[in-house]
Symmetry: C2
Subunit: 88 residues, 2 copies
Amino acid sequence: MAGIEEAMKILRKPFDKYAKKDGDKKTLSKRAFSSLLKAELPELAGDNKQLNHMFKEFDEDGDGTISFSEYLQQISELMVLMGFFEDL
Amino acid sequence: MAGIEEAMKILRKPFDKYAKKDGDKKTLSKRAFSSLLKAELPELAGDNKQLNHMFKEFDEDGDGTISFSEYLQQISELMVLMGFFEDL
């Protein structure tokens, strides 16, 4: 399977894992979002204040949950901003 | 390595492979972009007219090339719009 499709499936896994934990199984609640970040990207998780801020940034349409599309867009942007790709 | 970081590295590979082919090694020219799509996501490549349109969409700042950040953002959005994740 092509790299890009494989990468997208890998990105989907943690989203689905944590989305299933509470509320609508297709979106991340704030609690699920925090758990995902702490487990998957601990260096980005920070304290509750930072998590709250990040949740608001991710939740582009302000509906109180994070959709997969919002997650995908924001995680990508976040990793570019955090210089994740600088040394690749 | 965590899934998300691994996925981002996988996403970076085709970008670097085609960016190196011509012009600035850190961005995709239109020709490199077309080659990448045809190889990685043939179902999205379409004809030249569609490729031209997609290139303009990806090239958010209109500088005539596609940066990694533009590529990451647009590929994600494109795959969501094309329903890639519907049956996952």
